[in-house]
């Protein structure tokens, strides 16, 4: 049995089709850009979809001011390379109140990310936002549509999702409504890695193992990325060879001890590992079983 196209070819074609389809009905689309590996793949797909035109939308980074420094560096480099506008949004209220992951717990994510995203979308009047969520990440995402409708207040109602048949997407919406579009819904973590390798896509070096200053706290290995990290009595950063499977705010993102310095080694480690990708993130855990579903109903991506 031979098939001309590999699974990556088909996934790529599907994602590009989705991105182009958005352009038919969207008034003011935007691509959410979080600088992680999924964002890197999204940006690459967008460049392919519209080449030789630059992608006809800006990148939006909903910033928390607490990302890894290496992420900010790559973000600025990629925006320049792609020729796309980069909008960086920081929730002014969170800024003013000095919301941070050390003192404010779940409020940090809520204000910087969930509220920040809503504010940014409202401020600029974006009616379609591309996101890099994948169905294999988490159970409630397995059921989300590729075109996901949000009310005027950014709510998500799992019972009111439109059926998606064939490759036909209904992107019609009423005034005030917006759509989150997930072009890489059908990709798995392995697909992402393999595609990064195949297409030679630049990613943040934190995905590769290197000696980094770390402390162990609440079962997570955290990297001390700058001097805002408050050390507890008796805590001293220890240099360990670590890498990250997923990237977010540095005080909330657990590292894994690793020697994987190349893409192949990272993939190898991933395939042989026994814990799932989102485990390094604290965000899923608060609120018990259905926490991601709940966050989505509140407007989290």
């Amino acid at each position: 049995m031979t098939d001309t196209l590999t699974h990556l070819d088909r996934l790529e074609a599907e994602s590009i089709h989705i991105m182009r389809e958005v352009m038919a009905d969207a008034v003011k689309p935007v691509m959410l850009y979080s600088v992680g590996k999924d964002s890197a793949v999204m940006l690459h797909l967008a460049r392919k979809a519209f080449y030789p035109s630059p992608p006809p939308f800006p990148l939006l980074h909903v910033d928390t001011t607490w990302k890894f420094r290496a992420m900010y560096e790559l973000r600025d480099r990629m925006a320049a390379e792609s020729g796309m506008d980069l909008i960086v949004y920081q929730n002014p209220e969170a800024m003013e109140r000095g919301i941070n992951p050390f003192d404010h717990g779940p409020l940090h994510t809520d204000m910087w990310k969930t509220e920040g995203l809503k504010q940014a979308l409202d401020l600029y009047g974006f009616d379609v936002a591309f996101g890099g969520a994948r169905r294999d990440e988490e159970k409630s995402r397995a059921k989300e549509r590729i075109f996901s409708f949000r009310t005027g207040t950014h709510g998500w109602d799992p019972k009111k999702q439109r059926p998606e048949l064939w490759n036909l997407y209904n992107a019609k919406k009423a005034k005030g409504e917006s759509i989150r579009v997930f072009p890489i819904s059908n990709w798995t973590e392995l697909d992402i890695w393999q595609y990064i390798a195949r297409e030679n896509i630049p990613i943040v070096p934190l995905y590769f193992a290197a000696p980094r200053p770390t402390v162990e706290r609440d079962g997570l290995l955290l990297m001390v990325d700058d001097d805002r990290f408050p050390l507890l009595p008796g805590e001293t950063p220890v240099e360990r060879s670590v890498r990250f499977r997923t990237l977010g705010c540095y005080p909330l993102t657990g590292a894994v001890e690793s020697e994987a310095k190349t893409l192949s080694e990272v993939i190898q480690e991933m395939l042989l590992t026994t814990t799932s990708e989102r485990q390094g993130r604290i965000i899923d855990k608060d609120g018990g079983d259905a926490s991601m579903e709940k966050k989505k109903q509140e407007g989290y991506f």
Binding site: L5, A13, S53, A174
Partner: protein
């Protein structure tokens, strides 16, 4: 199960990751659906596939073990179903209520599984999941045999055009792995399958719970010679690959114009292959040209095949935009505007014959109206029933017409150019999925006759701009009175006009119509068409109809050139109209002697942004008429 040859990759991953990746990268992709009723063990089977292919990590497994003990249905053993029942609501109910997509990979292929629920009210979900599938796994509980839902699932899978059907006779462990049980089920399924046109299927006795005949042939059933489920899934032909042998079709999604020197046409190839130099025809215009380049970020390529998203440039400057189809010049598809189709209704609001919906097929969106179904299909008995409409999950055969010709192929030949969705124009909901069978002869034979004298010439002769003043409002709101005054004034000003009055039209043109929702829609459609002819003749047309539904008023608006439809909302509150009750109709309606009376037992959908709004409680008919004329001629 980790010793199973299908998944023994760990050694290779550990020893030579690059060799593994090189091999993995060449894997193809198969999409399939699993259908079964609530207790057939569908979620368990999927959980098993994920588990066996090591798609479940340690932390997930730990959570699964804890959940199994807490809410599981398998006692102390692992309840694989919990892995795939995602949303909180359905975990509580213990059933899956939507389509969920899962992913796993074996040595030879990567798989996307659409997990679709088996409940009758969820026909919608199954059709959705099946629309992208190459193969369907139909689960049967070995203890129960072929049930009504087995027939329903098989019919739906066949309806949506799935070529590969797997009959998975599950829970064989609970019938002692008995060969005769399996064979009895096989026999009864075979006779049913041939009834509905399924000529080919593969039956496999399995146990999702115990893992028999999933990845390898089971020692518990030595009488079964194979294939095991995974082996079969790895071998079947992918539908998209078969499309490569068909003639070339590219529905144009997006015109790529970075600058004046480049004009590319982007889209996903629906069928066939293409090379620079190939002769193509752009439809519906019919112009022929050649493919010049196939452009990608990594440089031009020599060939592209069905399934790929590409950007082509053409040798000549031809008109081509989103919704057009670039096709092989020697084998172009047809264009038509009237069709027979199968519809699967997916909305809570029933289908309304005569109402205009958006129809989206490939990359084209047009306005379409559906006629009353020729028949509805009972999915359980497969009987053909008479029907006036289709309700949620109803399946029927209808005739439909589009407001302009669309390029199409029969769904059986091409899913992309034959499958469509219908969208409600007001709520924007996706209300139906459809599959085109064929175009109706009359569409091909009725041609538009062009006349030498056109509408502008006719209007110029009358020294006026044609327009349609569309009065809408409750019965007794004052529509006819004001409309009549407007026409009198226009007449005095030497304007050529015609007043179409609701009551009068029902004496002649529309005397065969009653007051049901469908008849009211047809009433307005006919009046709209007549008014359009009259504006073509250069007249100022005035209509006075209650026209209670927004959708129909919008339908008439879309028939006319931009700006010619002027909606005049005679805004009289219900209480006031009822107080006036000029014709005594409200009294009759309140007494129950008149059915479907607007405002009483039939809704009135007020215009949201009419061109003109007349508040009759604040303005006399004379003032209203003057205001309308000012707006019309001003």
């Amino acid at each position: 199960m980790t010793t199973d040859p299908v998944y023994v990759t760990d050694a290779l991953i550990a020893e030579d990751i690059d060799a593994y990746l090189a091999r993995h990268e060449q894997k193809s992709l198969l999409r399939f659906i699993t259908c079964g009723s609530v207790d057939d063990g569908k979620s368990t089977l999927i959980g098993r596939l994920l588990y066996d292919s090591k798609m479940i990590f340690e932390d997930q497994l730990a959570a699964l073990e804890a959940d199994s003990k807490r809410v599981g249905t398998q006692g102390q053993e692992i309840d694989f179903a919990l892995l795939v029942d995602g949303l909180a609501a359905e975990r509580e109910q213990g059933i899956t209520i939507d389509v969920a997509y899962r992913f796993f990979t074996t040595e030879k292929r990567k798989f996307i599984v659409a997990d679709t629920p088996g409940h009758e009210q969820y026909t919608r979900n199954m059709v959705t999941g099946a629309s992208t599938a190459d193969l369907a796994v139909i689960l049967i509980d070995a203890r129960k045999g072929v049930l009504t839902q087995t027939r329903r699932h098989s019919f739906l899978a066949h309806l949506i055009g799935i070529k590969h059907i797997v009959l998975a006779v599950n829970k064989m462990d609970l019938v002692g792995y008995d060969k005769t049980v399996f064979e009895r089920i096989l026999l009864s399924y075979r006779s049913f399958a041939s009834e509905i046109g399924i000529t080919n299927f593969t039956a496999i006795p399995i146990s999702g719970f115990k893992g028999d005949n999933i990845t390898a042939l089971s020692d518990n059933m030595p009488w079964f010679k194979g294939p095991a489920l995974i082996e079969h899934l790895e071998g079947v032909e992918i539908a998209a690959a078969a499309d490569e042998a068909k003639p070339f079709r590219l529905p144009v999604q997006w015109v790529n114009r970075p600058n004046l020197d480049f004009r590319g046409f982007s889209g996903q190839i629906a069928s066939g292959t293409i090379k620079p130099g190939d002769a193509v025809r752009v439809l519906p215009s019919g112009k022929t040209t050649m493919v010049d380049r196939i452009v990608t970020l990594d440089g031009d390529v020599d060939e592209a095949v069905a399934g790929q998203s590409v950007t082509l440039t053409l040798s000549d400057e031809v008109d081509c935009s989103r919704g057009d189809v670039i096709a092989a010049a020697d084998a172009p598809p047809e264009a038509a505007d009237q069709f027979e189709a199968t519809l699967v209704w997916m909305a809570d609001e029933a289908m309304i014959a005569g109402r205009a919906y958006w129809l989206k097929l490939a990359t084209l969106t047009v306005s379409a109206t559906i006629q009353q179904p020729k028949y509805e299909i009972n999915v359980n008995t497969l009987d053909h029933l008479a029907a006036k409409t289709l309700e949620l999950n109803g399946i029927g055969v209808v005739e439909l017409s589009t407001d302009k010709p669309i390029v199409f192929e029969a769904y059986a030949d091409n899913r992309t150019l034959g499958g469509f969705i219908l969208i409600d124009k007001l709520t924007n909901a996706t209300v139906a999925a459809g599959m085109l069978h064929f175009s109706l002869r009359r569409a091909q034979n009725v041609h538009w006759q062009a006349s030498d004298v056109n509408r502008d010439m006719r209007a110029n002769l009358k020294n006026q701009r044609p327009a349609l003043l569309w009065f809408t409002g409750l019965s007794g709101s004052g529509k006819s009175t004001i409309a009549n005054l407007v026409e009198k004034k226009l007449h005095r000003m030497n304007r050529h006009s015609f007043l179409l009055d609701g009551d009068n039209v029902r004496h002649g043109l529309n005397r065969d119509l009653g007051f049901t929702e469908a008849d009211r829609i047809e009433n307005i459609r006919r009046v709209g068409e007549v008014a359009k002819l009259m504006t073509d003749a250069g007249l100022i047309v005035i209509t006075a109809f209650i026209s209670p539904f927004r959708a129909e008023r919008e339908m008439v608006r879309s028939m006319l050139p931009e700006g010619e439809f002027i909606e005049v909302f005679i805004d009289t509150p219900l209480a006031e109209a009822e107080r006036r009750d000029v014709k005594g109709l409200y009294k009759k309606a309140r007494a129950g002697q008149l059915k479907n009376f607007t405002g009483i037992d039939s809704p009135y959908e007020a215009p949201e942004t009419p061109e003109i709004r007349i508040d009759t409680t604040a303005m006399s008919p004379e003032e209203a008429a003057n205001m309308i004329i000012d707006r019309l001629l001003g």
